[in-house]
């Protein structure tokens, strides 16, 4: 084994990797669902995540609402934000060239970042602490933060629920139909706008839960906090095969584990922690451009 690493710390790092990976997976699902249906990199997704963190911060630290009320309001507001963004910025451009849609997504992202900086100032705010979640407990000489265990559990429950929605309900079937063939789905009587709205609502809700859990683990909120997680989670979606929900989960976990373990094994590379995602992206695009679980895409004329 590598120098200076005991079995205990290795286990701890594994748990840590699992929780970071689950967070990435929660956000990556939003990217992959939108990409599957609209073929659009929703650049604003990372900033929707950031806004959710601010909603929670304001609910608890400014308006002193109980945490469960705050969580519900946060998830509701974030869903509303996601649906509104699609309605205002993406829907009018549905027949426009792809580039315009992409620029619009970047524009929304930039606007949200700037509005957050303007309204909430660029300074990081301390997220309220949840002692129940952060007080470490010990099992056989190992110390764990409860939050590191709660994150994967919550993520697992939500992902199972999502897979149920996608595979067993009517709206889920409609989503899959639109993802396979947009035009045919439309001809078959599927209400495209409703399907797209619900896709954005689900993606944003998962991002909101991700943001709440993220802030319990890293208790600080700032306007640009969504940028790097956003980029990484898109990469996680690409690793797993863009458009594939299970792939996004797999990609998120791979990314989380690689980051945590790289820093654990090679402490000298700590500064490059954020870089590993992009190295993985380049490797994946070179050798497995459809991702691990993705199907080969054939472009038809």
């Amino acid at each position: 084994m590598v120098v200076g690493m005991t079995m205990e710390t290795f286990l701890q790092q594994l748990i840590n990797g699992l929780s970071v990976g689950s967070l990435y997976a929660l956000i990556a699902i939003g990217y992959t669902m939108v990409y599957g249906i609209l073929r659009l990199i929703n650049f604003a997704h990372g900033d929707i995540f950031m806004m959710a963190a601010y909603f929670t911060y304001f609910g608890i630290a400014v308006f002193f609402l109980p945490w469960y009320v705050t969580f519900i309001i946060t998830i509701g507001l974030t869903m509303l934000l996601g649906v509104t963004i699609e309605r205002v910025a993406y829907r009018p451009l549905r027949d426009a060239p792809k580039t315009s849609l992409l620029i619009s997504a970047i524009g929304v992202s930039f606007l949200l970042e700037n509005v957050a900086t303007y309204l909430f100032s660029g300074k990081p705010q301390a997220f309220p602490e949840f002692p129940l979640m952060t007080t470490p407990f010990f099992i056989g000489g190992l110390s764990f933060q409860p939050v590191s265990i709660v994150i994967p559990i919550v993520a697992f429950i939500l992902m199972s629920a999502l897979l149920f929605i996608i595979n067993k309900t009517k709206i889920g079937m409609a989503m899959r139909a639109v993802a396979v063939d947009y035009d045919t789905a439309k001809l078959m009587g599927i209400k495209i706008n409703g399907v797209i709205s619900s896709t954005f609502a689900i993606g944003s809700a998962l991002a909101a839960v991700g943001a709440i859990l993220w802030c319990m683990k890293y208790p600080s909120v700032l306007p640009l906090m969504g940028v790097v997680p956003g980029l990484k989670c898109f990469i996680a979606a690409v690793i797993g095969g863009i458009g594939n929900v299970k792939g996004a989960v797999l990609g998120g976990l791979i990314l989380g584990f690689s980051e945590v373990l790289m820093v654990a094994f090679f402490p000298a590379l700590t500064g490059y922690r954020d870089a590993i995602a992009f190295v993985i992206l380049i490797v994946i695009l070179l050798f497995l451009p459809n991702g691990l679980l993705g199907k080969k895409q054939v472009e038809k004329v």
Partner: protein, 367 residues
């Protein structure tokens, strides 16, 4: 001999307006270079640098249809190359006080122009490695990979203390103050881009933008052509970054935050994706506009004591502007048109027609 004279004469006869315009422009820059104060000089220099980088971005995004968001990163490479190679050797010990400069670099000092071109080449070299996986694939992977790259390059420059001095940045880079460096380079790059766009390569770029599959079927090598455009774009952007470093006299990783790229995105969207003259005009409009709107960031209380004007408002206005243009004026100022003499004459005629048309219609209404 006589024939060449004739052809030059014929060329001048055909393009005399352009020739006159160029002479007026050069004289204008010369006059401005003598008379403007240091604030305006810096601003004009910045405009010219923005012209260079935006043009390079439009070459890739507007003309070739490949979505690259790595401008901040490529500029950083150019800027750091100029910084590392032009800082006077005697002041290096004072700048690199935390960790001395790597020995293989410590005694190399290059003339500005050499470092500038080297910066462009370095940036194209890096572009090759990002482009080779991404440009083979259809889709938007280039956007995410280049955006990621411009984040990574900042991380790399922050961590390679002995070459880039890390987060402290490099100070006392010999500065350029004359307008000729930036405007001269900008004019050269504009001419190069115009020639490129009207060449076989330019046509291939545009065919890829319009329809990749059709272009491929017509025998355009997709990967090679996209790569050519991407490398030329990165080279120009690196040069723009080098000039930026020499204009400011100091570089540090924070200057090249990815939001810098969004300035150029706003410029090419405003000017028109696929218009050289539109890009040039928009570069001036946006750069000067950002200066003019600086008052938005100054705290200013109204009667109600509402702190509406405070830091950050200017960027809100700019990002809002980007959204409005994309949603409602998708073609920007110029669309894919160019500001040629014919274009101006045509616009002039149509405006005149509209005005006279209005006049007659109101007269008709009066009767």
């Amino acid at each position: 001999m006589k024939e060449t004279q004739n052809s030059i004469g014929a060329y001048l006869k055909l393009h005399w307006k352009t020739a006159v315009f160029l002479v007026v422009l050069l004289v204008g820059i010369g006059v401005a270079d003598i008379f403007v104060d240091s604030y305006l000089r810096r601003l004009l220099n910045l405009c010219a640098i923005y012209v260079i980088v935006s043009l390079a971005m439009n070459l890739v995004n507007g003309f070739t249809g490949q979505f690259s968001l790595g401008q901040a990163g490529f500029m950083a490479i150019g800027a750091y190359t100029v910084a590392v190679f032009t800082v006077p050797i005697e002041s290096r010990a004072a700048i690199f006080y935390l960790e001395p400069m790597a020995p293989f670099l410590a005694n190399i000092q290059l003339p500005f122009i050499v470092a500038l071109i080297l910066g462009g080449l370095a940036s194209a070299f890096v572009a090759f490695f990002i482009g080779s996986p991404c440009l083979r694939l259809r889709g938007d992977y280039l956007a995410i990979a280049t955006l990621g790259f411009s984040e990574i390059i900042r991380i790399v420059f922050t961590n390679t203390q002995s070459i880039t001095n890390g987060a402290l940045g490099i100070k006392s880079i010999p500065t350029i103050s004359s307008l000729w460096w930036t405007f001269g380079t900008a004019i050269l790059i504009i001419i190069a881009t115009v020639l490129l766009i009207n060449s076989t390569y330019g046509r291939a770029f545009k065919s890829i933008r319009e329809d990749e599959i059709a272009a491929e079927a017509m025998g355009v090598g997709l990967f090679k052509t996209k790569m050519t455009s991407f490398l030329i774009g990165a080279f120009f952007t690196g040069i723009g970054g080098g000039l930026f470093a020499a204009l400011l006299g100091t570089v540090d990783p924070k200057q090249f935050y990815f939001t810098l790229t969004y300035n150029f995105l706003l410029i090419i969207v405003l000017g028109g994706m696929g218009s050289i003259s539109g890009t040039v005009i928009a570069s001036f409009v946006v750069t000067l506009g950002q200066e003019a709107l600086r008052f938005l960031d100054e705290p200013m209380a109204f009667g109600l004591d509402l702190p509406i004007f405070r830091p950050g408002l200017r960027m809100v206005v700019f990002s809002f502007l980007l959204m409005v243009i994309v949603l409602f004026y998708r073609k920007g100022l110029m669309g894919t048109n160019e500001l040629t003499w014919d274009f101006i004459a045509q616009k002039y005629r149509s405006i005149k027609k509209k005005l006279s048309g209005k006049k007659t219609s109101t007269e008709g209404g009066g009767n």
